[in-house]
């Protein structure tokens, strides 16, 4: 079972995606930093309690599948048999309970029902809904509100699975991206570095002719955080002004004599450094957007699911 990589900058449970601090530019409190790299007592919510909830979920899977196969419902399995109603009720209550994770995580409470336990149960019981929901339907799908509820449930589950996957994999990539030979840089340091480079480029570009200066100015005016959600998620910035500026500057420089103290050379170097920093920053943005994006589907789909479930249940009793 995959374990979430431990991030030395963060607290025990928080990840870069959930931490408010990680997105702010205020300096981290150095005094409170605790090195736990060497001896880690960290236990992921995926392996919580030696996979207690994973085992329970597998149990639910096996039991519901076995009962589905061995209980003979005439004329065939569907949500309207006693077995279907039983699974449906269990599924409905389970969905409502799973939704309560959003309430639970906002309430900081001590005690046995730790948030980690709750999250672990959320993940595995959520997965067991695949069996409960599908067997409830008896594999009868169609173009109706009932299948809509099922489809939304599956969307929520799949987006949640994706979330688990990114939580398990991406923090490593994120750390790797932020580390280089000079050590790690924080989000704040990235912005500071960018500011500094922009200042240097601005100063270095002063001697340039109007044409070259205009090229540089475009790079300076670029808002690196402006890209669309798609650009962030895909890390695609085809209209990057800095890259365009480098290309243009080199084009202009090609037809000039090489001088001892060439402002073009200086600007070129600085722009290249800016580009490298931008690459790092944008990769960071991409990883963060992946870490966050699934929730933008998971949460709204959950509420759409609850609405569809209400319609599903009410419609059944309405046309009883």
């Amino acid at each position: 079972m995959a374990t979430l990589p431990h991030n030395p900058d963060q607290g025990d449970f928080e990840t870069a995606a959930t931490s408010k601090n990680s997105t702010s530019t205020s300096s981290p409190k150095k005094a409170s930093r605790v090195r736990r790299d060497k001896v880690s007592s960290h236990e992921s919510f995926l392996t919580y309690g030696s996979g207690r909830w994973a085992k329970i979920a597998i149990g639910i899977f096996v039991v519901s599948l076995a009962t589905y196969l061995f209980i003979d419902v005439e004329p065939r399995h569907n949500g309207g048999s006693w077995y279907g109603y039983t699974l449906g009720t269990i599924g409905l209550l389970l969905i409502l309970w799973l939704t309560l994770l959003g309430v639970r995580k906002r309430a900081i409470t001590p005690g046995r029902w730790s948030l980690k336990a709750w999250t672990s149960a959320h993940v595995y019981l959520g997965l067991s809904l695949i069996a409960i929901g599908t067997l409830h339907a008896g594999f009868q799908l169609g173009w109706n509100v009932h299948t809509l509820a099922w489809a939304l449930m599956m969307l929520v589950i799949v987006s949640g699975l994706f979330g688990i996957w990114v939580y398990a994999r991406l923090p490593t990539a994120m750390s790797a991206n932020r580390f280089d030979a000079e050590g790690a840089i924080t989000e704040k340091q990235m912005i500071e570095g960018l500011k500094q480079l922009d200042r240097q480029i601005h100063d270095a570009a002063q001697p340039l002719d109007p044409e070259a200066a205009a090229v540089i100015d475009k790079s300076l005016e670029e808002n690196v955080f402006a890209g669309s959600a798609y650009a962030r998620v895909m890390n695609r910035y085809p209209n990057c002004r800095t890259r365009a500026a480098i290309a243009d500057i080199r084009k202009l420089r090609n037809f000039r004599p090489r001088l001892e103290d060439d402002p073009f050379a200086k600007v070129d170097t600085l722009l290249s450094r800016k580009e490298a920093l931008l690459a790092k920053l944008r990769r960071h943005l991409q990883l963060k957007s992946w870490l966050q994006s699934w929730l933008f589907i998971h949460v709204p789909a959950t509420f759409a699911l609850i609405a569809a479930l209400s319609a599903h249940v009410i419609s059944v009793f309405f046309y009883w």
Binding site: S22, T23, S24, T25, E74, P75, R76, N78, G79, G80, W82, Q140, G142, W143, N144, V145, H146, L148, I191, L194, K195, D198, R199, I201, H202, Q206, L208, D209, P210, A213, A214, I216, D217, L220, E221, E222, N223, V224, F225, A229, K288, S289, Q292, S293, F296, V299, P300, T302, F303, A304, I306, A307, A308, S310, A311, S315, F317, F318, Y319, W320
Partner: protein
């Protein structure tokens, strides 16, 4: 003359730093170049962008050095004469230059201020959420409410509106909604069966009231004639419920839950489940029958019906309706319990075994007449028993068609025409005979006449004369004698019929009525049509051994040739014990809403039946072959 230039820079803390300098001369350049009087460290400004020339004490001229326009009081110009006392504004790149006149020295003043930061990154942006997707995609809370509202409106509010709009069409046979989309169709969990296809667009025809489970009155809106009552007594429902008994255990719990949720027991839809997908309604499952009929005697002591459950294990013996007395005008028919030695008295004498033999005189007679019985070594069942057009039953055996070809009633020949006695009309038979004998002795052979040609010699003539004399001697010279012979042992009538005393018109004899049973099992359904791959004697075993027409030849429940040879009931337990097991639930032979026709399940075309069977058999251990 001079110019006063005041360059204002912002401090990090927010305050301003003012750097003032005096540029002497009548001319001054504006540009990015460090040598310019007004130095604008701005990449948007040319190294030498414009030239300021003092014209007189209050007027200056500004002229672009690059032919590129600059902004002056909101207008793009390349050259402009200005009165400094009016306080104009110039814009070069990101810098705004305010013009004025120093009140003391009367020099023109240029107050330079950077309007936009030199780089986007150096602007004082709010960086709290720049690393998040905030603002890039719709917020979670907002889209959650939006999607939930959309779903609730489209899939809940709209269908309810559809229902409310057309509710007045409910319980009206011809109340149909206009074609097109109705939102409550989105609630449909599965297609209706083929029989109800026409109702597909009319939810209200069955779902009459909200939160009230479908009631029988909705079904009976259309099914007025064809819903044959299962039992035809006044208190039918009470008896049905009584027969079912009070459910216990889990069934009791189910009943309780059903009642709690307003689903009363005993409605049509309990058996006739709908929305199970396009196709025919599934045949009724056996358990719906056995719920009542298994051990019914205990719950319904006054019932005449024996208990019945699975056909293979607990079905009562057949009770065929047989003729016990064919003599009256209307034969007496009685249902008796089938036994191997059961008797039926149809009034005929017939020897099945003798007729089916391949070695006796009957067989020889058949073999002698290959034009009528081609390639037969003896009689076959179908020489007499012909299926009716439906293939279900057999037509009654008719003497003229089946018997007379051998059992001839010919008594005279006139020219090439044979005269026969009229079957079924004893009075005419007697009358014909009397008339025949009134005509005298047998015809005298021609060759006994003097002029006739004959074989030479007397011996031949003597032989003919002897034959004739014998014929005359033995010929019934009186009609009464012939009639007596006919109706007594050895006579044509007596061979097959029971002779009873009769009136004078029939010579004191008469023929007892004959009756044939076409359908023995009135309460269950059997069709020969579906059993054509078997020989008749596979089931009608005794046909090959019985020489008594009163032997009941229909097969019974079990034993050799019985139905259970193949039909083993529903469920897998007993399937393995026979060679060709056929899974047979109650519905194969019985109908809940029974009429005279085939039960609903057997009425299906074979292809449909096969698919129903497949569905039913899916998951059960046994396999069936048909």
């Amino acid at each position: 003359m001079s110019f006063l230039v005041r360059q204002i820079a912002l401090k990090a803390s927010g305050g301003e730093i003012v750097r003032a300098k005096r540029v002497d001369g009548d001319e001054m350049k504006i540009g990015r170049d460090g040598n310019c009087g007004i130095h604008l460290p701005d990449l948007g400004v040319d190294p030498e962008a414009a030239l300021v020339t003092q014209l007189d004490e209050t007027h200056i001229e500004i002229e672009s050095l690059t032919n590129l326009p600059f902004e002056c009081d909101g207008l793009k110009v390349t050259r402009k004469e200005l009165d400094v006392t009016n306080g104009s504004e110039l814009v070069f790149g990101s810098h705004r230059i305010k013009l004025g006149q120093d009140p003391r020295s009367r020099f023109p003043t240029f107050t330079v201020r950077r309007e936009t930061p030199m780089a986007h990154s150096s602007a004082d942006n709010d960086l709290t959420d720049v690393y998040t997707l905030k603002g890039k995609v719709p917020g979670k809370r907002m889209s959650a409410w939006a999607f939930a509202a959309m779903v609730a409106i489209a899939f809940l509010a709209w269908p309810i509106y559809s229902y409310a709009t057309y509710n007045d069409l409910a319980l009206k046979k011809d109340g149909v909604r206009p074609a097109g989309f109705h939102a409550d169709k989105m609630w449909e969990s599965g297609k209706l069966s083929v029989a109800h296809k026409g109702l597909e667009n009319d939810c209200q025809s069955c779902h009459v009231e909200p939160f009230v489970a479908v009631r029988d009155n909705a079904c009976l809106t259309c099914h007025k004639q064809d819903a044959h009552d299962h039992i035809k007594v006044a208190n039918a429902t009470d008896r049905l419920v009584q027969a079912r008994g009070e459910p216990t255990g889990f069934a009791g719990f189910q009943r309780a839950v059903g009642s709690t949720f307003n689903k009363p027991a005993g409605r049509c839809v309990e058996c006739h489940t709908e929305h199970e997908g396009e196709g025919a309604m599934a045949a009724t499952d056996q358990k719906f029958c056995t719920e009542c009929h298994d051990g019914m005697k205990a719950r319904l002591p006054d019932t005449k019906l024996p208990d019945a459950a699975d056909f293979g294990t607990s079905h009562p013996q057949f009770m065929p309706a047989v003729i016990t007395n064919a003599a009256p005008e209307k034969p007496v028919v009685k249902r008796i319990a089938w036994t191997p030695n059961a008797k039926e008295f149809g009034g005929l004498k017939f020897t099945h075994a003798q007729h089916l033999s391949t070695t006796n005189g009957v067989a020889q007679m058949v073999r002698r007449r290959p034009s009528e019985f081609p390639e037969q070594s003896g009689l076959d069942c179908e020489n007499c028993h012909q299926a009716d057009p439906s293939g279900t039953w057999f037509k009654p055996v008719v003497m003229e068609e089946s018997c007379q070809t051998c059992h001839s009633l010919t008594f005279d020949q006139v020219g090439g025409t044979f005269r026969t006695l009229r079957h079924g009309e004893p009075e005419m038979v007697v009358a014909d005979l009397r008339s025949f004998f009134a005509g005298g002795a047998p015809v005298r052979p021609a060759n006994l006449g003097g002029m006739a040609r004959r074989q030479p010699g007397d011996s031949s003539a003597a032989g003919v004369a002897k034959d004739y004399a014998r014929a005359v001697r033995f010929y019934p010279t009186q009609a009464n004698q012939a009639i007596t012979m006919l109706f007594n042992k050895g006579g044509a009538c007596f061979d097959c019929h029971t002779i009873i005393p009769g009136g004078a018109a029939t010579g004191g004899y008469n023929i007892q009525n004959v009756a044939q049973t076409q359908r023995y099992l009135q309460k269950g359904w059997f069709t020969h049509d579906r059993h054509t791959k078997f020989e008749c004697v596979d089931c009608h075993l005794k046909a090959e051994t019985s020489n008594d027409a009163t032997d009941l030849l229909i097969p019974g429940l079990g034993g050799k040739g019985g139905c259970r040879d193949c039909h083993v009931g529903q469920g897998g337990a007993s399937l393995a014990s026979v060679k060709q097991p056929v899974e047979s639930g109650c519905a194969m032979c019985h109908d809940y809403h029974a009429d005279d026709g085939a039960p609903w399940m057997s009425r299906q075309p074979a292809s449909r039946r096969a698919s129903v069977d497949r569905k039913r058999n899916a998951g059960s251990a046994g396999t069936t072959s048909r």
